[in-house]
Symmetry: C2
Subunit: 223 residues, 2 copies
DNA sequence: GTCTATAGATGGATAGAC
DNA sequence: GTCTATCCATCTATAGAC
């Protein structure tokens, strides 16, 4: 922004905007390739080639391949958890601090499902997050392990909504519904589509949300 | 078995038994390391070192690292699917070909849960299978994609047990319960244990089976 | 800041002796 | 069949020119 536009500008366009553009291009290319092909199957060369930047960019802008991975991971999980927290907060407001099970689950399900919509740019980010859960580095696993404060709020809300259920049952059932969410990967959708002979349509995320809520709500309200 | 025991036998013990022993040692070491650390994070050198055999063994006995991986994958998934099929068959026998939802789900859940028991040697095999679903090679993904005949039998049984539910709902709910199963990874158990403050005990697989059945049965019987 | 060239490490696979 | 030595490809990371 403070750069003077000189006659040389076209030949040496290395200002802040270019800086940010290069970094963003690396970030986007890495997220996309990691989400599609797995973390270990994508090299720094693949990323820089896809981004159209030179090989050294990853190390210059992010320090290392693993640091780049972790930065993508942290940004996307942060965004997703904020969306979930906001929806849970709104549900609290609507129900005087004690929302029903279905609305709590909706706050947990809706953000990742919206992201997974084929029409949504975030689709690739959602696949990245899911992949990070199983293929992530030790650093990511530690972050997931220690960052349970966000889930703790959901557990507390569920306890309040279903006070006659033993606390350990709350946690196990939360584990079950998270399994439902994490199973929404491309390959699993494809397999289901194949198994059902084409009956299941991946594109209908609003319908899928309702299906998941019907199933999970009934499961949570079981004795 | 047909080998003559000669005076040289002790110096040249390269008979069928040694052959099989080396191959089995490689198989076991590979399965264990892959299950614990991921497919791409384990080298042929790691495997042969763990097995106490020489570096060339993997290629001699299995052809390549990927072929070894696939052989483990095929054997274990075959064993698991046969256990499930047998339990489904027994449930059919008990109920004149039309078992209730809960017993169908039990045939789906019980084998992987028994395998996952900390007291069971197969615990590591179960983690291997779960990992293969997300980290597997293209060959494994194709095999998973095309081998749905086993799941198709479960889908048919569920349709018969719940005829008033739309077929597409059967498939989606089958997808949901499979998500529950596949979420039973070491890291997820650890995270849950951390989140619940130690309330959830991983070792109690019989209890977990009942919890999963309570939840999934209610979900399946929802309108 | 960008880019080329390359260091340095590690991986899978194999030839050839035994 | 087993084992050592080695080839060759590939990767991350970095030094140094511009």
């Amino acid at each position: 922004m403070t750069d003077q536009i000189s006659p040389d500008a076209l030949e040496v366009p290395a200002g802040e905007e270019t800086h940010a553009a290069t970094k963003a291009a690396v970030f986007a290319a890495a997220e996309r390739l990691f989400a599609l092909h797995g973390f270990q199957n994508v090299s720094v060369r693949d990323i820089t080639a896809e981004a159209g930047v030179n090989l050294a960019s990853v190390n210059y802008h992010f320090g290392s391949k693993d640091a780049l991975l972790f930065e993508i991971f942290r940004r996307r999980t942060g965004e997703l958890n904020r969306e979930r927290a906001r929806m849970l907060h709104e549900a609290n407001d609507r129900h005087a601090g004690k929302p029903p099970v279905r609305e709590i689950l909706e706050a947990l399900f809706a953000p990742p499902l919206r992201w997974a919509d084929p029409a949504n740019d975030r689709r690739i980010s959602m696949q990245f997050i899911i992949r990070a859960r199983s293929e992530g580095t030790a650093q990511m696993r530690d972050a997931l392990q220690n960052d349970v404060s966000h889930l703790a709020r959901f557990a507390e809300a569920l306890k309040a909504a279903h006070p006659d259920l033993a606390q350990e049952s709350i946690y196990w059932r939360l584990h079950f519904v998270l399994g439902m969410v994490h199973n929404n990967r491309f390959v699993e959708f494809d397999r289901l589509h194949h198994l059902s002979g084409g009956l299941t349509r991946e594109g209908d995320v609003a319908g899928l949300l309702n299906r998941m809520l019907d199933f999970a709500e009934a499961g949570f309200l079981a004795p």
